[in-house]
């Protein structure tokens, strides 16, 4: 039995102009002890995927699919049951940019207390907060401080700590290292590694494929709402199948080895009126006539790829 499995998930936002299909038929699953990295360029639906698993998007926006955690559907259960027993307890999330939305007028401790209240926590608040602050590598004196007195790295640890309060099994971290200095990034990466050692499974959302290699056994590459390739990190880094995955890997500047000159020209299609067939068609160097037909998922050694080259 898979630890977590997402099947044919579709999430669309209703807007005045029409429906933005931000997550379109996404599937993946993880075994016990595995973590996943989700990569893809801006607006491809990464955060929406995370928010959908947390059921923080409007109910009507998830129009199909299922999500099971240890065999039990957490998407089909009533919203109230999900809120009471699953959200923050089993599955939690560090939201994109959360470190910049800490409330400036409250101390860190007050903000922890507020979160615990919202969770209706009935244990010893002081002890809980002190424990969690330690576990993310901060000292107790941060508790009395206000957000503006903290460095970026400290704020990021605090929002991670907030997601860990109720000891979730599955933690979604949305761009936790973006906009931080490299040295601070490295510290946050080590914190994520430590969380994994303690038994948590992580879904790391980032547009930086290099960072994913530090924490994820599995990788899902998203493009315009679709997960176009899913597989083991080893397979994706060493033998990427989808032309988009290949291009994405080539566009990463390397510290050693070749200086890159490759980037992906053009823009992804609109999520409101996506074209028929492969969504990468316009930008794909290997596009063929056939690619104008919708692409199924073809099996690979460790996952799948949505590209007609692998029929």
């Amino acid at each position: 039995m898979a630890f977590i499995s997402v099947e044919n998930l579709k999430t669309g936002y209703e807007t005045e102009k029409g429906i933005v299909q931000a997550v379109d038929d996404v599937s993946f699953s993880l075994e016990n002890g595995e973590s996943i990295g989700i990569a893809g360029e801006s607006a491809c639906g990464k955060s929406t995927l995370g928010l959908s698993i947390m059921r923080i998007v409007p109910d009507v926006s998830i129009t199909s699919g299922d999500i099971t955690l240890e065999g039990k559907s957490i998407l089909k259960m009533p919203k109230s049951e999900f809120a009471k027993n699953v959200r923050w307890k089993d599955v939690s999330m560090v939201f994109q940019g959360a470190m910049n939305s800490l409330d400036p007028v409250f101390t860190v401790e007050e903000q922890f207390v507020e979160v615990l209240k919202q969770h209706r926590y009935d244990g010893d608040y002081k002890q809980k907060i002190s424990e969690i602050v330690n576990s993310v590598g901060l000292t107790q004196d941060v508790l009395k401080k206000y957000p503006h007195e903290l460095s970026g790295g400290m704020k990021q640890r605090i929002v991670i700590a907030m997601a860990l309060l109720l000891k979730p099994k599955f933690v979604i971290a949305d761009e936790p290292t973006t906009a931080l200095d490299v040295l601070v990034q490295a510290q946050i990466i080590n914190l994520l590694k430590k969380m994994k050692k303690e038994g948590m499974s992580i879904m790391l959302i980032t547009h930086d494929l290099a960072i994913i290699s530090e924490v994820a056994e599995k990788i899902g590459i998203m493009y315009a709402g679709k997960m176009i390739e899913f597989g083991s990190a080893a397979e994706i880094y060493k033998n990427p199948k989808h032309p988009y995955t290949q291009a994405l890997l080539k566009s990463i500047p390397r510290l050693r080895g070749d200086k890159v000159t490759n980037y992906i020209k053009g823009n992804p299609p609109s999520l409101m009126h996506p074209p028929q067939g492969c969504r990468f068609y316009d930008r794909c160097p290997q596009a063929m006539e056939k690619c104008k037909k919708d692409v199924p998922k073809f099996k690979t050694d460790s996952g799948y790829v949505s590209c007609w080259l692998y029929e």
Partner: protein
Amino acid sequence: MNEILLVQNLTKHFAKKGIFSSSGTVVKAVDDVSFSLKKGEVLVLAGESGSGKSTTARLILRAIEPDSGRIVFDGIEIGNDNKSLEKIRMQCQMIHQDPYASINPRMKISDIIMEPLEIHKIGTKEERKKMVLDALHEVKLEPAEDVFNKFPHMLSGGQRQRVVLARALVLKPKLIIADEPVSMLDVSIRAEVLELMRELQQKHDISYIYITHDLSTARYLGQNISIMYLGKIVESGPIDEVLLHPRHPYTQALLDAISEPEPDNLLKEKKIRINEPLDIDVYQGCRFRARCPYAIEKCNEEPPLEQTGQDRLAACFVKLD
């Protein structure tokens, strides 16, 4: 004369007004910084947040007044006289980090790019229009005639950063200071903007100061690099040499911290060769001493920035292997 920019002993200290403490302290944002830049050269200024990179840029452009030091741009010493100020402000252009903040969302692309021409009273209306179109072609925003009438929100992040670049180019500058020009962009768009910057540099022999804390994009664009730490240059030299064989413990720590897309990373903890900062006066002795894993007794004195090889300088008492 081969040098486009000469910076000598540049210094700027700020009085830091604590919000809660009344006792002000001094931030030595830029402290006795010297470097030079050849025509057509790309120099990378790297270092963590607060190391003084942007302050250095603002001093060069005279957006702020230095406490001391000299700046010679294209053979002319920059002072407070109108002539030298006009020269530096026309021939040295700055690109900022955030493509969303640095352009006015209510202005048309054409007006955004035309603005510097109007400020410096260059050309007739018709000539200005042509210069704007030329700049749009330069940065490959095509069809330029269409883009001309668009508003910023109709463009992607990468396209907006091209607009910023076009705005800098329209005055035909000799030096562009790019302050984290790609850090707000997606990894996949970064390469595109960097590639364009490099093309322009080669075509027009423009010199760049490329400010970043990201050493992997630094290598892509730069020929030389200076690493700053708390207001001082701690290491400098040709970029491949510095990145492959760092001589300063801080450079080494920065390099270790970078992740590369390698599946083997999964199995190892990231090596961070930097200590939790000690609570000591950072301006006493080597500034990196509070976090340096190699610190010795002698580091209570300030290490001079000394030659350690051909074109290479480092400020450290200890020899790294």
